[in-house]
Symmetry: C2
Subunit: 335 residues, 2 copies
């Protein structure tokens, strides 16, 4: 085993859209394990929109990554050495291991993964954070009822693809918004969305949504924000529920954007808008994972992984994900 | 009894702030009662911000008032004649009787008022729609807990004065925002608000709110919207609840206003923003009225009425209310 670890550290904070130069690839020795620690070789590294927020020096729900610090991120890998009673060499585990090839951890927030149940990559996807985000963000925040209309923005991403399928499982009419024609096709032809459109070519969002949601919108699962959300909120039905999962349209703006004031609409429709974080549902994770695994097994839930090979391609894959180049879960395969 | 009814009808739709010329005072004969109808002489007419919305030709939760139609509005008065089994001459009753001196009604949505329990004017105030709005909008939508910080915008109005006092009864730190120094003084010295400020003279809302809410904001009861709400949302605590009751800052704009996009904040704090209408709580009105009456009786809840004499002064009193000239409930006394 190599005793050298390759890591991506934050080199500088982006102004607007991140560049590869915002990251530095460095080599450091793997530290010796202390009592209670174990060493993981990361196989699949997860790339997620929330990481963009960690690159800013702004107060949020988690601390920013500091300049020179290893980028934060989830991954799944194999335990190589262990001074920890619960993790043995040969075990697979997932946790916030960071953008590096090897991680030393004390096991806090780390979960064992059974490679016989599902491919280990799913531990950072459909059977991990994005899957749980879709599950709780839709079912707990929106509570969709059969026959209701559910709209999903960022519908072709790791979370959106799952939200739409869960909505279908619950008997809803499901509409997706994505930014590539092939994604739109994938949503309707492969995942069973009732309709979808490409927001980059079909830019009269209100007209398009009114056409695709003739009975209005009961639940809106928002990954995107901005003008798409402006249009969606104007079509909310009485007692509609809006789940704010992400606002990716806003993350890379150099200057905050202005938009129409829409809170008055909430009075007219007696609707709610609620932000959530999957981590708040930690006590219910096992319920969510069990249900998602069951749906996968019974063929009701499909997932797609967009895998880039090579640890050194982390920044490029991250930027591609922010640009919407992926369909489904964006991963980097390091091993 | 006069057989002539004076009525204010909508003469034209306002562009921006309403003018007295948007209303016409007309005289019409009082129609003869049909079977099941009764005649009410309106004593106190209610003036409320929502009426501004009814003057627009826009889809909302209620139909717009048509040009030439009597303005909509609540009132309380005495039954003069009746062909209705449940209402007798001499009874007092409250309902959506409109801007007129006499109303003929079939009793739908009309409630009898006991003049021995409280002054009849309270039936359109603290023991009527504004009281119930404060009660359910705060307790049901925000569900404030002892020790939490509750912020109220439009705090010196019919609803706001009650919201702040109910929050105090529930053991909260209560902060009010109003637009006149005397109102600010009234809130803190007479109604027991912990702090308040004048948004017209103290215009750095964020700095002022941060100072007055050192522990952040757990519940925000919003009657106003606009820049005040922009600032308040930036100070929300984890799992904060925002109740959107009104957005009076936006009702008289000739052109919709733009504002910062703030939905991303809801993710950081996992907060919700919910619009509501008091009418949705109709099945629980008696619970609310009983509790409000009890608090008044025990001296825990005070109310203030701003009474303008003379039916002919309805438009002027309405415009004054929109300008924030009233403290507490704005009424016109017609008899």
């Amino acid at each position: 085993m190599s005793s050298i670890n390759r890591q991506f550290v934050l080199a500088s904070r982006p102004a607007g859209f991140p560049q590869e130069s915002n990251f530095n690839l460095i080599e450091t020795p793997i530290p010796a394990l202390k009592e209670g620690e174990f060493l993981v070789r990361e196989h699949y590294l997860s790339l997620d929109p929330y990481m963009r927020g960690r690159m800013n020096d702004a107060k949020s729900y988690a601390a920013p990554v500091q300049i020179g610090e290893v980028m934060t991120g989830g991954a799944v890998g194999e335990v190589l050495e262990s001074n920890h009673p619960d993790f043995k060499p040969g075990d697979f585990a997932t946790g916030q291991f960071g953008w590096q090839e090897f991680a030393v951890t004390d096991g806090k927030g780390v979960r064992k993964v059974d490679p016989n149940l599902a491919p280990i990559s799913t531990a950072v996807g459909v059977l991990g954070m994005p899957g749980l985000t879709a599950y709780f963000g839709l079912l707990d925040v929106c509570d969709p009822k059969p026959g209701e209309t559910v709209l999903v923005s960022g519908a072709a991403g790791a979370v959106g693809t799952l939200v739409g399928q869960i909505a279908k499982i619950k008997g809803c009419r499901t509409i997706g918004i994505a930014g590539v024609d092939d994604k739109v096709k994938y949503l309707t032809e492969d995942l069973g969305f009732d309709a979808a459109f490409n927001y980059k070519t079909d830019t009269n969002y209100f007209a398009r949504l009114r056409e695709l949601c003739p009975n209005g919108i009961d639940c809106y699962f928002d990954n995107v924000g901005g003008e798409i959300t402006d249009a969606a909120l104007r079509l909310l039905n009485l007692h509609a529920r809006v789940s704010i999962c992400g606002q990716i349209s806003q993350y890379n703006l150099e200057k905050p954007e202005l938009g129409p004031r829409l809170l008055g609409l909430l009075i007219v429709t007696r609707s709610k808008i609620q932000g959530f974080l999957v981590s708040d549902y930690a006590p219910r994770f096992s319920e969510g994972l069990q249900q998602m695994a069951e749906w996968i097994k019974s063929g009701k839930l499909k997932y797609h992984e967009n895998i880039v090979e090579g640890f050194e391609n982390m920044p490029r894959a991250f930027i591609g994900m922010l640009r919407g180049e992926n369909t489904g879960k964006q991963l980097v395969k390091a091993v």
